[in-house]
């Protein structure tokens, strides 16, 4: 009995190693994916409060059950055009390096499992639009192309940009 359970456990573990669990979302007509391990929750767009002097891609702060969380506009960050906020708009709350924040997206479609082998390095065509360092790879699922985001980079770089901006203005 116990042996059986151990075997099953092992099988699941093996699956985990080879398969990525991804949250798929849409933004400005593209399909993006983030690792589910980084996603805390997905919520409807709540009322947000603007923060003066914050970087332009910071939409503001929201109240998430008593916690105050910064929400960013990924479209501004990626320099693409998002839809107007509507009933499909969502905030994906992610945790990256102890920093919790929300990302506004046009819509969240599904959660999928994708084998590692289906992920390739980003071809140059996409990178012309979005900076290459934000992209971890491109996932192929049937005929869909999913842009896997490297959230660490996305958020790290935003800090650098900000510092550069200050340097310029100083």
């Amino acid at each position: 009995m116990q042996e059986n359970m151990l075997k099953i456990d092992k099988k699941v573990d093996e699956d985990d190693e080879n398969v990525l669990q991804l949250v798929i979302f849409q933004l400005g007509g593209e399909e993006f994916a983030v690792d589910i391990m980084q996603v805390q929750e997905i919520i409807r767009m709540p009322e947000s409060t603007r923060i003066p002097q914050a970087p332009d891609y910071v939409k503001g702060v929201i109240n998430l059950r008593g916690k105050i969380i910064v929400v960013i506009n990924l479209d501004v960050k990626f320099n693409i055009e998002a839809k107007e906020i509507d009933e499909n708009s969502r905030v994906i709350v992610v945790e990256v390096e102890d920093n919790i924040l929300g990302m506004v997206v046009d819509s969240v479609s599904d959660v999928i499992s994708l084998p590692h082998s289906n992920v390739e390095n980003a071809p140059d065509i996409i990178t012309s639009k979005i900076k290459a360092e934000y992209i971890q790879g491109v996932g192929k699922l049937d005929d869909r192309l999913l842009i896997l985001l490297d959230l660490k980079r996305v958020l790290q770089e935003s800090e650098m940009e900000h510092i550069e901006k200050i340097k310029k203005s100083a």
């Binding site: 709540p46 923060i51 910071v58 702060v61 920093n99 958020l155 800090e159 900000h162």
Partner: protein, 667 residues
């Protein structure tokens, strides 16, 4: 409970005992005739020793043990207290503090130096003891009480026996002192009656013996027989026996006991009083609770308050009268809980103040200055979080005062001042704030010098500097990178400037004020909020957005007319009953988006007058929404690192987030 938890408890308790030791030692330094202080120290050291030994911190135990020995000799008046002893004891305390601070590496601590110092003073004390012995005859070294003498008398009457004072010296190497002494006493019991022993029977039983034991002994036997019998017990290095003459003792008793008898009862009654006090303290039941728990509790109370105001708002929206009563009692309850939790977090300011006398003492010795340092208002309570933060700024201010403020005795005499400078640290309660005042009667801050330094440092041109008022010039010391000290000393000028002090206090929602008269002294006032977690604030609208302004910063609100606004050097001001009030339009500062049509067609403007570093500034807002208690939540996100002007955010009754304006950094 894990070891680390024990360790934390040990640290906390050990620090309390250390604090007590420091405090009492300072008192002892002031007045070394009060031996009760030595008793207090002895008890504290003893408890510390016990705790350390239980936890296996042997080095700490060893140091405290040696300290105890020294203090015991002082207590028994074998040594007189002098400055060397006090200094050595202070050094011990520093060593202990170091050990406790770095408790993980306690076993690596090098205590040989301090033990050597302790031995030096105790051995010089032992000489003192020997000198005393040489002068006084043996018969006097044992102090017989009246009933002891009566006992001797009755024993002598019964038989044809005589009284002896037997002095037994145990071998240095003797391990089982209690057992050896027991054997000696048993031998003596066989031959006669032991009237009294020094140390007492209890001390012997508990192993509390030196190498020497004095025994008053009544026997019918001859001296030589007694010596012979005792010498048979092994590990005895010397036996001395002297006959005691009761008549002599009685005569001596009459002359000597007169001053000595009253002194004994007073000291015992004192210690009795003390032990009673201790019992009183113990009878107040208390539990140690970690700050983390109180913080969690505080957070939850915060959530409760938010939910309460949300409920209130819903009740208004739904227009249900039925809810009113329940809401009112909920209101009362949450208020009570909040007050209780806040109170539980309050700590006496003494916790910070009590380490300062020691520090000022050390600094003044180092600087060869004479300073009388007084603290006042030690009982004032402050929120734990505030208290934790103000220690460093206060240390800095005190150092500045000792280093730059107060002059050397020679200088002071030349200036016709008293030789000893005075430094006063005073805490007092001022409505919802705590005021901490540090006053010295030293050099004061010279505005002329400040201007010169500012020019030298390239902060201002000569003309600009001359434009500064004296007050503005003095406030320059709060500018980053500004140090008026001509030379950097070990004590101040180490990089943490007055600007750091100011920033820290302002971070806590407080303010710093400075007042100084050249050659008369400087007063620095820190105004601190009682607590940081929950503040009273005024909610205002700027455009469509809601902001909270801490009530602490607000002086009053005013309505002014747009036409009255004048412009001086490009800045908006308004003349209000003779006061020129600089104006700041929050629309501009916060870059609030607005549509031109409805933007202030009204000629009347609402102004909230706030105070910043003693100056009044008018903030133009659009609407006052009323006063509300808000819970401060920090905006600690990497992305907002460079955002200034907000001390945090809070959640309003409707669930939305409002930013809390931080007046000092905003305008």
């Amino acid at each position: 409970m894990s070891m680390s938890e024990y360790c934390d408890m040990f640290k906390a308790e050990a620090n309390e005992h250390l604090q007590q030791l420091n405090h009492t030692l300072l008192e002892l330094e002031q007045d070394n005739s009060n031996l009760e202080n030595i008793n207090i120290m002895f008890r504290a050291a003893h408890t510390l020793k016990g705790m350390a030994a239980t936890m296996g911190y042997n080095k700490i135990a060893e140091v405290t043990h040696e300290m105890e020995n020294l203090m015991d000799s002082i207590r028994n008046q074998e040594i007189d207290i002098n400055s060397t002893i006090i200094n050595v004891l202070f050094e011990c305390l520093d060593q202990l503090e170091f050990g406790i601070e770095n408790i993980e590496t306690e076993c690596d601590m090098d205590i040989s130096a301090i033990l050597l110092r302790l031995n030096e003073v105790s051995s010089s004390a032992e000489k003192h003891e020997h000198v005393a012995e040489n002068v006084t005859c043996v018969s006097e070294s044992i102090d017989l009480k009246e009933d002891d003498i009566k006992k001797c008398q009755s024993l002598c009457e019964d038989k044809d026996s005589s009284i002896f004072n037997v002095q037994v010296t145990l071998d240095e190497t003797c391990l089982l002192k209690t057992a050896r002494t027991g054997l000696v006493l048993r031998e003596l019991d066989k031959m006669g009656t032991v009237v009294k022993t020094v140390p007492s029977q209890e001390d012997i039983d508990s192993g509390n013996i030196d190498n020497e034991i004095n025994i008053v002994f009544v026997t019918a036997n001859n001296e030589n027989v007694v010596i012979e019998k005792i010498s048979k017990v092994s590990e005895i290095s010397n036996v001395k026996i002297d006959p005691l003459d009761l008549d002599n003792i009685l005569a001596a008793e009459k002359t000597e006991s007169m001053p000595s008898i009253p002194s004994t009862p007073t000291s015992t009654s004192k210690s009795m009083k003390n032990s009673m006090n201790e019992d009183n303290v113990k009878s107040v039941q208390s539990v140690r609770v970690s700050i983390e728990r109180l913080d969690n509790l505080m957070n939850m109370v915060g959530e409760l308050l938010i939910n309460k105001s949300r409920l209130n708002q819903l009740a208004i929206e739904l227009e249900t009268k039925k809810l009113d009563e329940t809401l009112a009692s909920l209101d009362r309850l949450t208020n009570d809980i909040q007050v209780e939790v806040m109170d539980a977090r309050m700590v006496q300011i003494d916790q910070v103040f009590n380490r300062f006398p020691r520090m000022v003492r050390d600094l003044s010795i180092e600087q060869k200055k004479k300073i009388s340092f007084l603290t006042e208002g030690n009982e004032i309570e402050l929120d734990r979080t505030v208290l934790d933060e103000i220690g460093d700024p206060l240390v800095h201010l005190l150092r500045n005062a000792v280093d730059h403020g107060i002059e050397t005795p020679e200088e002071r005499i030349a200036k016709n001042k008293t030789e000893t400078g005075s430094l006063n640290l005073k805490a007092s309660r001022l409505r919802n704030n705590v005021l901490i005042e540090l006053q010295d009667d030293g050099r004061g801050i010279d505005p002329v010098k400040m201007r010169d330094v500012a020019i030298k440092k390239g902060l201002f041109e000569r003309a600009q500097a001359n434009d500064l008022s004296d007050r503005e010039a003095m406030y320059l010391i709060f500018e980053p990178g500004f140090s008026a000290a001509e030379e950097v000393t070990d004590i101040s000028g180490r990089g943490v400037g007055m600007d750091a002090v100011k920033n820290k206090i302002e971070d806590l929602g407080g303010s710093v004020e400075l007042e100084s008269v050249v050659e008369q002294g400087t007063t620095i006032r820190l105004k601190l909020p009682l607590t940081v977690a929950i503040i009273q604030s005024l909610l205002v609208n700027v455009g469509e957005e809601t902001y909270a302004v801490p009530i602490n910063n607000i002086v009053r609100d005013e309505v002014i007319e747009q036409d009255d606004i004048r412009s001086i050097k490009g800045e908006k001001v308004v003349n209000l009953r003779g006061e020129v009030l600089p104006l700041v339009d929050l629309h501009d500062v916060l870059s609030v988006p607005h549509n031109k049509e409805n933007y202030r067609d009204n000629n009347n403007l609402l102004v909230v007058v706030v105070e910043k570093a003693g100056q009044h500034i008018g903030l133009i807002v659009d609407k006052l929404l009323g006063q509300q208690e808000v819970i401060i939540k920090t905006l600690d996100n990497k992305l907002l690192k460079n955002v200034k002007g907000f001390s945090g955010a809070t959640i309003l009754g409707n669930g939305n987030v409002a930013l809390i304006l931080d007046v000092p950094t905003l305008v």
